[in-house]
C-alpha cells in the first residue's frame, strides 16, 4: 500500500476536513510523523516497546482442527495475544511516543466499547502522559468495566451525552475538545480514519502486523496465502495486515458488520475529517451503525479501504450478527481461542465461504484482531436470551 498524496488522498478518498482551528495540529502531526518515521531512533524505540512491553511479535497459529473441518488451510495472526488484548496497542504505542516527541504531555482519545480507550490509557500510563477518553454515555453504561479499567490506568473518562451517545459522537466530542487543547494535547485516534495524516499514520503503525505475518507465513511455507481476511470497523487491523500482502497475489478481504457496512451499503461522504464511504440517509445525515460488536459499530470505513474497494484491490463483505455468535463458538470449541466479536466476523465469513467463495484447499490467513474476554458477558446474555 502506498502513501497518500500531499492532501492525504488515497485516490478519491481521504483528505482533511476539519475545523480550521485543527489544521495547524494536523499539519504539525503530519510533519512530526514523517520525520519520526524516518528516524531510526524513533522506529527502534517503537519496535522495542512493542517487543518488550506489548508482546510482539504475535504468533501465527495454524488452526489445524478448523482447517480440517473447513477443507482449507487456515492460519490466524494472533493479535489477541498483544497487550490489552487486541491490535489497538500497536497504534497507541506509536502515537504516544510521537506525542512525547512533539513535546505534548497529554492525549485524548475516543472509544466505543473501550478497547482503544484502554489501549490509549495503557500507553499513556507507561509514559506518564495525562489521558482523557471520550466515550458515549450509552457505552459507558454498557461497558462500565472498561471505564473502570481506564480509570485504574489513571485516565479520566468523559461520558459523551451528545447525539446517539455512542462511538460516532465520541469522535465528534474528542474533535471538539481537541480544538480547545490542541496546544499541549495530541488526539490519539483509534483507527485508520479521521483527517490526514491519521489514516496513513495509523496504517503505518499497524503495518507491523502485516510485516510480521508475511515473514511468518513464509517460514510456514505459505508465500503468500491465497486470502488474507480481516474484520473492518474503521479498518486499522485490516489495513495493518493488508500492508504486508498488498504487493502479493493474495486476495485481500475485509469483513464489515452488516449493520455498519460502509462499502456494501454506504456511499461517498465526509465525516470525522475524512472523505470516505459512509452509511447515510438521502440527505447526507450519518446513520447509526448497529452491530453486535461495539468495535464494528461505525458508520464509515477508513479512506484507504474505500480506495482499495474502488480500485478492486480488496473486497469487502458484510456479515450479520446471527452468524457471528456461531463463529465465536466454533473457534472457541475447535481451537481453544475465544475471539473478539469483531474478529469473529472474519471467522464467520471464512466458515461460510469455505468451499464456496473460498476454493477448497486454499490457504487463508485470518487476522485475529482481538480476544473475546471483553465480550463473554455479552455473548452469554445473548445466547441465554435466544435459547
Amino acid at each position: 500500500m502506498s502513501s497518500p498524496d500531499s492532501r492525504g488522498r488515497f485516490g478519491n478518498f481521504g483528505g482533511r476536513f476539519v475545523p480550521e482551528a485543527l489544521m495547524p495540529a494536523c499539519l504539525e502531526l503530519e510533519s512530526a510523523f514523517v520525520e519520526a518515521w524516518n528516524d531510526p531512533t524513533f522506529v527502534d524505540e517503537y519496535q522495542r516497546v512493542l517487543r518488550e512491553f506489548a508482546g510482539r511479535p504475535t504468533p501465527v497459529t495454524h488452526l489445524e482442527r478448523l482447517s480440517e473441518r473447513l477443507g482449507i488451510n487456515l492460519y490466524a495472526k494472533r493479535e489477541d495475544l498483544a497487550h490489552t488484548g487486541s491490535h489497538k496497542i500497536n497504534n497507541v504505542i506509536g502515537q504516544t511516543l510521537l506525542t512525547q516527541r512533539m513535546g505534548k504531555h497529554r492525549v485524548i482519545a475516543e472509544t466505543g466499547a473501550g478497547q482503544h480507550g484502554v489501549a490509549t490509557a495503557t500507553a499513556a500510563a507507561r509514559l506518564g502522559l495525562e489521558c482523557t477518553v471520550y466515550m458515549g454515555e450509552v457505552d459507558t453504561v454498557r461497558q462500565s468495566l472498561n471505564v473502570f479499567r481506564m480509570e485504574l490506568l489513571g485516565a479520566t473518562v468523559v461520558p459523551v451525552t451528545a447525539g446517539s451517545r455512542t462511538l460516532k459522537d465520541a469522535v465528534n466530542e474528542a474533535m471538539r475538545e481537541w480544538v480547545a487543547c490542541v496546544d499541549d494535547t495530541h488526539y490519539c485516534l483509534g483507527s485508520v480514519m479521521g483527517p490526514h495524516p491519521f489514516p496513513w499514520m495509523v496504517r503505518e503503525f499497524q503495518s507491523i502486523i502485516g510485516r510480521e505475518a508475511l515473514g511468518q507465513m513464509r517460514d510456514l511455507g505459505v508465500d503468500p496465502p491465497d486470502l488474507v481476511v480481516a474484520c473492518v470497523g474503521g479498518g486499522s487491523n485490516a489495513a495493518g495486515i493488508f500492508a504486508g500482502f498488498a504487493n502479493s497475489s493474495a486476495r485481500l478481504v475485509g469483513i464489515e458488520a452488516a449493520g455498519g457496512a460502509a462499502v456494501a451499503g454506504g456511499s461517498p461522504g465526509v465525516l470525522h475529517g475524512m472523505q470516505s464511504l459512509l452509511i447515510q440517509d438521502e440527505f447526507g445525515q450519518i446513520e447509526e451503525a448497529h452491530s453486535i460488536s461495539a468495535g464494528l459499530d461505525y458508520p464509515g470505513i477508513g479512506p484507504e479501504h474505500a480506495h482499495l474497494a474502488e480500485i478492486g484491490r480488496a473486497e469487502y463483505h458484510p456479515i450479520g450478527d446471527e452468524d457471528v455468535l456461531d463463529a465465536l463458538a466454533l473457534l472457541s470449541e475447535m481451537e481453544g481461542i475465544i475471539p473478539a466479536l469483531e474478529s469473529a466476523h472474519a471467522v464467520a465469513w471464512i466458515a461460510r465461504e469455505a468451499g464456496h467463495g473460498i476454493p477448497k484447499g486454499s490457504s487463508v490467513l485470518l487476522n485475529l484482531s482481538g480476544r473475546g474476554d471483553k465480550d463473554v458477558a455479552q455473548v452469554r446474555a445473548m445466547l441465554r436470551g435466544e435459547s
Binding site: G15, E20, A21, G163, G269, V270, G273, Q285
Partner: protein, 259 residues
C-alpha cells in the same frame, strides 16, 4: 442580487458594524419568523444553520438544536422551501457541514441556495485545501464561501484564507467550538492578522454570548456573529418577541449609547 461581499463591504463602508445572528433552520415550525424578528431588531445578515447529524464544530446548544431540527424532519430542501415564506432584504448565509452539500451534490446545492436567496455558505469542516470543487459550484451560482480563521492559524495560512474567503472572514475568537466561552479571547489579534493580509470584512464569532462581549468584539472588527446564546433563547421556548429583544440588546450594545 448583489454579491454577499459587496453588500457587506457596503455596510462597512457605511460605518456600520455588522450583527449576524444564527438560526437553526427548521428548529421550530415558525423559525423564519424568528429570522424576521431578528432583522427587525437590526440584524445585518443572518446565518442559517442546516442541521447535520455530526456537527463537529458545534457545542452542546447548537448540537441540541440540530438534533431537534432533524427529528422534526428538517432537510436542506425543507429549509429552502421555508425560506420562500421569508421576506427580508438582508443577506442570508447558510452554515452546515460539507457532507450535507456533498451528498446533495455540490452543483445542485449551490443552485438550491441561490434559488432560495442564500448568498453565502460557511462550511466549517471544509478547509481551503479541499474547497475547490465547492467553490467552483458556488461561483456559478453567486454563492460566497466564507472561511474561518482560528487563533491557532499561522500567518502564512491566514494569508491564504484571507485570499480565499468570500463575503467576509469568520474570525474565531477562541480555540473552541460554538458556544465555547472558556479560554482567552483572541478575536482582536485574529482580526488584526486578517486585516494585515486582506481587505475582506472580518467578523468575530465563537463565544459571543452577551451584549458586552459583542460590543467589545465589534470595536475591533467589522461585525459579530451570535449563535449559541440566541439559539438557547429559542430552545428555552422564546418566540419572535424574545428573539427580537435579544437581538436588539446586541444591536444596542454594538451601536453604543444612543443618548
Amino acid at each position: 442580487m448583489k454579491s454577499l461581499e459587496s453588500q457587506l463591504r457596503g455596510l462597512r463602508d457605511a460605518g456600520r458594524k455588522a450583527l449576524v445572528p444564527y438560526f437553526m433552520g427548521g428548529l421550530t415550525p415558525d423559525w423564519t419568523r424568528h429570522v424576521e424578528a431578528a432583522v427587525h431588531a437590526g440584524a445585518d445578515a443572518v446565518e442559517i444553520g442546516v442541521p447535520f447529524s455530526d456537527p463537529m464544530m458545534d457545542g452542546v446548544v447548537i448540537q441540541g438544536a440540530a438534533l431537534r431540527a432533524l427529528a422534526a424532519g428538517t432537510t436542506l430542501d425543507s429549509i429552502c422551501a421555508d425560506l420562500e415564506r421569508l421576506s427580508t432584504s438582508v443577506p442570508l448565509v447558510a452554515m452546515t457541514y460539507y457532507n450535507v452539500f456533498l451528498h446533495y451534490g455540490l452543483e445542485r446545492s449551490a443552485g438550491k441556495l441561490q434559488a432560495s436567496g442564500i448568498s453565502g455558505a460557511i462550511v466549517p469542516d471544509l478547509t481551503i485545501e479541499e474547497a475547490d470543487g465547492w467553490r467552483a459550484a458556488c461561483r456559478d451560482h453567486d454563492v460566497a464561501t466564507v472561511f474561518l480563521v482560528a487563533p491557532s492559524t499561522p500567518p502564512d495560512r491566514i494569508r491564504l484564507i484571507g485570499a480565499a474567503t468570500e463575503g467576509f472572514a469568520y474570525a474565531s475568537a477562541r480555540m473552541a467550538v460554538t458556544g465555547g466561552s472558556s479560554g482567552e479571547g483572541a478575536g482582536e489579534r485574529v482580526v488584526r492578522q486578517v486585516r494585515d493580509v486582506s481587505t475582506v470584512p472580518t467578523y468575530i464569532g465563537i463565544g459571543i454570548g452577551t451584549p458586552d462581549q459583542a460590543r467589545a468584539a465589534a470595536l475591533v472588527s467589522d461585525g459579530v456573529i451570535v449563535g449559541s446564546a440566541l439559539v438557547q433563547v429559542i430552545l428555552d421556548g422564546g418566540g419572535a418577541s424574545e428573539v427580537e429583544g435579544f437581538v436588539r440588546s446586541f444591536r444596542e450594545a454594538i451601536d453604543g449609547p444612543r443618548a
